[in-house]
């Protein structure tokens, strides 16, 4: 059964059609990568999945439950069981790394939140930086804290918006390995946005190629490589 499903989803901003009749399924435990050029609607799909915005038409389901449909958000973002790693990380500047990671657990009134934060930070290798503010952390540490903030809540779906975009080559490698590790260790479904096809091919078990406002192709990296689509061939060659 599909963990995440978009059925005939369309979305426009004013006169600009961003998504047109998109239908996509992502299975439980898969790492699906949304790949496409700038403005192809990748981030919009994440926003719709998160519930920050409602689709104009079509339906979105997570774990078999319809979360958006009929132009409305029917399940609020915080009730969807998702995690979101933003491109700019969105670490709250007035909170320490510990407070950032603990925020969601405290909101759920989990009594053992301190232990969970410590465990997550240890696994990510940022335990020593928990009392620092985001501005005092390196780029890689910030990235790992952002991952920790999402993971500590044990989401069933993790949405990642170009999480490696702002990192140097060395840090990219470290964070990429962590992502693979967490997928294998926790088995959560990951939807990952990228415009870098090399990164996408190396990480994903499923690729969703967007072109314009539509889906150009869906398949495993191998299937996509063998595609006859001129757009895909051009995109991969870039």
């Amino acid at each position: 059964m599909a963990e995440v499903e978009l059925r005939n989803v369309s979305k426009s901003y004013g006169k600009k059609q961003v998504l047109q009749d998109i239908t996509v399924e992502v299975k439980k435990g898969d790492l699906a990568c949304l790949l496409g050029s700038s403005g192809s609607g990748k981030t919009t799909i994440l926003k719709l999945l998160a519930g920050f915005e409602a689709p104009d038409s079509g339906e979105i389901s997570i774990g078999g439950e319809v979360v958006s449909g009929n132009g409305k958000v029917t399940v609020a973002p915080h009730k969807r069981g998702i995690g979101y790693i933003f491109q700019d990380l969105a670490l709250w500047p007035h909170m320490t790394a510990f407070e950032n990671i603990a925020f969601g657990l405290k909101a759920r009134k989990e009594p053992d939140y301190r232990i969970k934060v410590q465990e997550t930070a240890e696994w990510l290798g940022v335990k020593d930086s928990l009392d620092k503010y985001p501005s005092q952390l390196s780029g890689g540490q910030q990235q790992l804290v952002a991952i920790g903030r999402s993971l500590v809540l044990q989401p069933r779906v993790l949405l990642m918006d170009e999480p490696l975009a702002n990192l140097d080559v060395k840090l990219k490698k470290v964070v990429r390995e962590k992502i693979i590790e967490l997928k294998e260790a926790l088995g959560i479904t990951i939807i990952y946005v990228s415009h870098d096809h090399r990164e996408a091919f190396s990480l994903a078990s499923q690729l969703i190629i967007l072109n314009g406002a539509s889906v150009e192709a869906i398949g495993t990296p191998e299937e996509i490589r063998q595609s006859d689509s001129a757009f895909i061939k051009y995109f991969i060659e870039l």
């Binding site: 973002p77 915080h78 969807r80 969105a90 709250w92 909101a107 809540l153």
Partner: protein, 519 residues
């Protein structure tokens, strides 16, 4: 090169506007004056201390309530993407542009017309209430700007975990804390500086005391010392927050950016629209409507009488306001253009200080400085009024123009320069047309402020000069309430029709240009 011009312009402003303040401060400290020791001990008298505490209390109450209301309204206009949101924002700003004394009269009318005792409004609580309504738009502008500038993903990251209400209190509110503090402080300073509202409502505060000491008792020493203490209070407050206030683009004409992470549901939008609309209706529309009702209660008789009283002043006020606005735009553009993209904290502080100083204190400073043999030609001419306008409102004009200039990429002017244009050519042909909307906006806003200026003008107006607010304020002391209201209505209609006319001309010009091109 532009630094030299900036220095020259700053020097000019210091010479004509800031030196009077420094001169007054030095006099209040006994430097270059012969103030008797007894005048200083008056500061410690029980009555003066009580007055100071009273003023601070009123200022604090206004700051807290206006900041709270400004936060609610700022949230409504910045986060809800309401239909006709821009119109709503403009309407919510109306109290800021009306002369404060008109608002005080309108609220007295509210009680009179509805058959209630107006004694409620003739009280410190009444002054707090009226001043809160007048200054709420400032808090709204500052806070909506701050809310708009919060990175949407910071909000969204919280919304993934908690309901929006909790995200607002735990993430967004701490992020706008600097704006909340600055808004509170600025409003506190403006509230303790305001003269016309407490004067009309017979509430004793520092500004009314200074006015009384100076104009009624001719006790110049006491007035100067009290002014010095008020300048000290304002300066301390501004020093604490000037870097924040001067950096914020809260007076912006032109495009604004900023995406909100929060998308209100249709139901919530209706709810917030009702809240903002209700506030607008109760705080602004009802009192102004009742002002009109009161003005027309004896028929057209008082309105005709008011027009007759004020017709001579209308033209003169219009003329001075035009000159004032023109000069404000020129100085404002000069400062903002020469500052460019660099920070010029000293210039910013100078402008905000002259803006936030109590109007009566500014008046006394101008009198002490210009009422000397060497500068008497300015003191006895309408120039003194224009200088007063410059001191009071240059901060606003400069802010509007600087914010607009910051929205224009530097590369546009640079492209003209590498294409062979001179510095002046690039400025005239590229930058000025691009900021024309802000130049017009700054002119209109400055014009409205100048038309309503009372506190300083009433202290310095030269013989043979008579201005609308001064005439109204002088007559209203002994006039029946309906005549007072009629005079305020005439002033309101006059300012409104001139402003409306200017906007109509601007709109027609834009339509014609859009249709037929510039030629």
């Amino acid at each position: 090169m532009s630094r030299i011009y900036l220095w020259a312009l700053s020097f000019l402003f210091v010479a004509i506007a800031l030196l009077p303040i420094l001169y007054l401060v030095s006099h209040s400290l006994g430097i270059g004056s012969e103030i008797e020791l007894g005048a200083y001990t008056a500061l410690l008298r029980g009555r003066t201390v009580r007055l100071l505490l009273h003023t601070v209390g009123i200022g604090a109450a206004v700051a807290i309530s206006a900041t709270f209301l400004g936060l609610v309204l700022g949230f409504i206009i910045s986060k809800n993407n309401l239909r006709h949101g821009q119109l709503l924002t403009i309407l919510l700003l109306v109290p800021l542009f009306l002369p404060p004394y008109i608002f005080a009269v309108a609220w007295v009318d509210f009680f009179v017309v509805l058959g209630m005792s107006p004694s409620v409004i003739y009280s410190p609580a009444g002054a707090i209430f009226v001043l809160t309504i007048i200054y709420t738009p400032i808090a709204m502008l500052l806070l909506s700007n701050s809310l708009q500038n919060i990175n949407a993903s910071l909000e969204e990251a919280a919304m993934i975990m908690v309901p929006y209400r909790e995200a607002f209190f735990r993430i967004i509110l701490p992020l706008v804390k600097p704006a909340l503090l600055s808004s509170g402080l600025l409003i506190f300073i403006l509230a303790i500086s305001e003269f016309s509202v407490p004067a009309f409502l017979s509430v004793q505060v520092m500004t009314t005391e200074i006015f009384t000491q100076f104009s009624a008792f001719y006790d110049f020493d006491s007035a100067i010392i009290l002014s010095g203490s008020l300048i000290f209070l304002c300066t301390i407050g501004l020093l604490a927050e000037s870097s924040y206030l001067t950096d914020k683009p809260f007076l912006t004409i032109g495009s604004r950016n900023g995406r909100s992470g929060y998308t209100a549901s249709d139901k919530d939008k209706k709810k917030w629209l009702a809240v903002a609309g209700g506030y607008l209706f109760c705080s602004t529309l009802v009192p102004i409507a009742l002002l009109a009702v009161q003005a027309l209660s004896p028929g057209l008789q008082h309105l005709a009488q008011a027009f007759d009283y004020l017709k001579a002043e209308m033209w003169q006020t219009f003329l001075y306001a035009c000159w004032g606005a023109l000069l404000l735009v020129l100085f404002g553009f000069g400062f903002s253009y020469l500052k460019g993209r660099k920070t010029a904290r000293a210039v910013d502080f100078m402008l905000i200080l002259s803006f936030a100083l109590p109007s009566v204190v500014t008046g006394i400073a101008l009198i002490r400085y210009y009422n000397t043999p060497a500068l008497n030609f300015i003191y006895t001419s309408p120039l003194i009024i224009i200088i007063a306008y410059l001191m009071r409102y240059l901060f606003v004009a400069e802010k509007i123009l600087h914010n607009r200039l910051m929205q224009i990429p530097a590369s546009l002017e640079q492209a003209a320069l590498v294409s062979g244009a001179t510095k002046w050519g690039a400025l005239w042909q590229i930058t000025v047309p691009l900021v024309a909307d802000a130049l017009f906006g700054a002119f209109v806003i400055s014009f409205i402020f100048c038309m309503g200026e009372l506190g300083t003008a009433i202290m310095v107006y030269p013989p043979g000069t008579s201005l609308l607010p001064i005439k109204i304020f002088t007559i209203m002391a002994n006039a029946p309430q309906s005549l007072t209201s009629a005079m305020c209505l005439v002033a309101l209609l006059f300012t409104g029709s001139v402003t409306g006319g200017l906007f109509a001309l601007w709109y027609i010009k834009r339509r014609v240009t859009a249709r037929y091109g510039r030629s």
